[in-house]
């Protein structure tokens, strides 16, 4: 009974206080969220809509003329051999670079995790991680000089082994692979660290049980490590695929899409159409296609990743 009146009295006081508090809270919400939302509005929501809108116009910022052309920009893509080639190059780059990335980062992470000396382990991790923090633009320039035909590092090494020099960045057979090599150097550190974290989170007892059962090293890796690493694996593959689709600086600096458009990825093609050729409408249409590709690929990965977990 007493308790009842106590809560009753509390209830009597609370609504007033709460209303005052809520009023204050409202003011706080509106005042502080307004500038944040304004920024999101102007620099995130608006550009997305604008980009979709621009894709049905023929728009040149220099003349300032915008001509409505409907689906023409999209139809034009189907017959644009450079665009189709850049699609092909983009997929080739993403598939090869992501697969090699995941395989070597997983191997290096497993190897580093086996090291028992603490300082040695963190030294190794640091060494592989260092390139990821350097500006990619700088890395691309340094690698361009390493790929130089006349006095680059790689041809000096080939020369030492009495092999013929290679046009690393201007031979159509090698150019894309040269950029992939540089990209991997610059980027594997992230995934190594993420894989090590994933490996660390696997409880020792699974391994202990497997060793008692006399499982071989390979079986332990295949039946314990890999399945329990699935979450890391899904996360790493999604983020790596998305970031490699958007790879730009290394292509723009090292090859400019050459030779014979063998390294003209979509990200570079869109940039050049928009800012070198001032075809902003057409570039926006390509950007829309680019967005759809990334969305579909990500959703597919999530779907496959999830069904595999459930087994």
């Amino acid at each position: 009974m007493n308790l009842g009146t106590a809560t009753g009295r509390n209830k009597g006081i609370e609504p007033g206080a709460e209303r005052a508090g809520r009023k204050n809270g409202r003011k706080f919400i509106y005042l502080s969220l307004a500038p944040v939302l304004l920024l999101f509005g102007v620099f995130a929501f608006l550009p997305i809509g604008w980009s979709l809108g621009l894709s049905v116009f023929k728009y040149n910022p220099l003349s300032g003329s915008a001509l409505f052309v409907g689906a023409d920009n999209y139809i034009r893509m189907l017959g644009d051999s450079v665009f189709l080639k850049s699609l092909w190059v983009t997929f080739k780059f993403v598939i090869i670079a992501v697969m090699v990335n995941i395989i070597i980062t997983l191997m290096i992470a497993v190897a580093i995790q086996r090291i028992r000396t603490g300082w040695l382990r963190s030294l190794m991790r640091t060494l592989f991680f260092l390139p990821t923090i350097a500006p990619l633009a700088g890395t691309a320039i340094v690698w361009s000089t390493m790929f130089n035909f006349n006095h680059g590092l790689f041809n000096i090494l080939l020369d030492k082994m009495h092999m013929a020099p290679i046009q690393w960045l201007s031979d159509p057979h090698y150019a894309l692979y040269s950029v992939i090599m540089m990209t991997l150097w610059a980027d594997i550190g992230y995934n190594i660290v993420l894989f090590i974290a994933g490996l660390d989170s696997i409880p020792d007892m699974y391994y202990e049980a497997a060793i008692l059962d006399g499982a071989s090293r390979w079986h332990i890796f295949k039946d314990i490590t890999l399945p329990l690493l699935r979450r890391s694996m899904l996360f790493i593959s999604v983020t790596t695929v998305v970031s490699y689709f958007q790879a730009f600086a290394q292509f723009q600096i090292m090859t400019k899409g050459e030779p014979f458009n063998e390294t003209r990825v979509l990200a570079l093609h869109i940039y050049e159409q928009a800012f070198s050729n001032s075809n902003m409408g057409y570039a926006s249409a390509m950007a829309t296609v680019f967005l759809l590709i990334i969305l579909v690929v990500t959703l597919l990965q999530l779907k496959w990743g999830r069904t595999e977990w459930e087994y």
Binding site: G25, F40, A44, P47, W50, S51, P135, A137, L291
Partner: protein
């Protein structure tokens, strides 16, 4: 825990050491090239080591180029962007986590959705908007579109949701206003998340290349990565000069990383941010 196999362990260690040396090779190349003299490069050097170490490249970068200015541009924009992003992320995260208002869910989903949008999709309209604001070739153009981060808001919301409501109610009972609550109670509790977000925001804006490339072409306004590439275009033949600039730009980043390494790695595994 494992059956140790000395032979296998040794082999793995050896492979790791070789791989680690390969990882360090470009750094060695960069430093050694920066020490070559112009003479050596023009005459076509075919060696890894400089025949005679020279600081000519560094002198050219520091004396003939507005190097200090470029560093300043990068430092100012990155610091402002990082400070603002931390503030706006924490604020918006707090509101989305602990307040209710109309359209909250929808707004949050919209903000999250922008995380999925590649920059290539929004760069053209963002350029047009920035140009309309009259900011082309101004450092403000680098700063303004980057004052908020959808990832930051998302992270802050996740972390602030875990703070017990009782703690906030108790502080309110003591008469603390919303801002005081943020500074005194929430900020200290989400400090690990904020420092991770801060490090990554700083690094991303320091290293950003595509947006400055679009919006800046005045040499004196350039940020470091852009200036380096521009510089490379004008000094292509003298790559000792370009390599010297690369060294000068890479060293501070590495130093900062070595100092904050722990927070960095922790932040990466905590947030998965790239």
């Amino acid at each position: 825990m494992h059956r140790r196999n000395k032979w296998l362990d040794g082999l793995i260690m050896l492979v790791l050491i070789v791989a680690a040396c390969a990882m360090l090779m470009p750094y060695a190349w960069m430093v050694l090239s920066s020490l070559k003299s112009n003479m050596e490069i023009v005459s076509g050097s075919h060696t890894f080591l400089p025949s005679k170490a020279s600081l000519e490249g560094y002198r050219t970068v520091l004396v003939d180029a507005p190097f200090g200015r470029w560093l300043m541009n990068s430092a100012v924009t990155s610091v402002v962007i990082t400070a603002a992003t931390l503030f706006t992320s924490a604020l918006a995260g707090y509101i989305f986590a602990k307040h209710q208002f109309k359209g909250q869910k929808l707004l949050f989903i919209l903000i999250l959705a922008t995380m999925m949008i590649p920059f290539q999709v929004i760069m053209i309209p963002t350029y047009l908007i920035t140009a309309k604001l009259g900011l082309v070739n101004q450092l403000m153009a680098i700063i303004l579109p980057n004052l908020v981060s959808s990832y930051g808001v998302f992270l802050a919301k996740q972390f602030i949701e875990d703070i017990p409501q009782d703690l906030l109610d108790a502080a309110r009972m003591d008469g603390a206003g919303e801002l005081r609550l943020m500074v005194r109670i929430i900020a200290p509790l989400i400090l690990p998340m904020l420092s991770a977000l801060g490090i990554f925001t700083f690094m991303n804006s320091w290293n950003n290349y595509l947006w400055p490339l679009i919006i800046l072409n005045d040499e004196s306004k350039m940020t470091v990565p852009l200036a380096l590439v521009y510089f490379n275009g004008t000094h292509m033949v003298n790559y000792n000069v370009v390599m010297s600039a690369a060294v000068l730009i890479t060293l501070p980043v590495i130093a900062v990383f070595l100092i904050f390494q722990k927070q960095f790695i922790k932040g990466l595994t905590m947030t998965g941010m790239k």
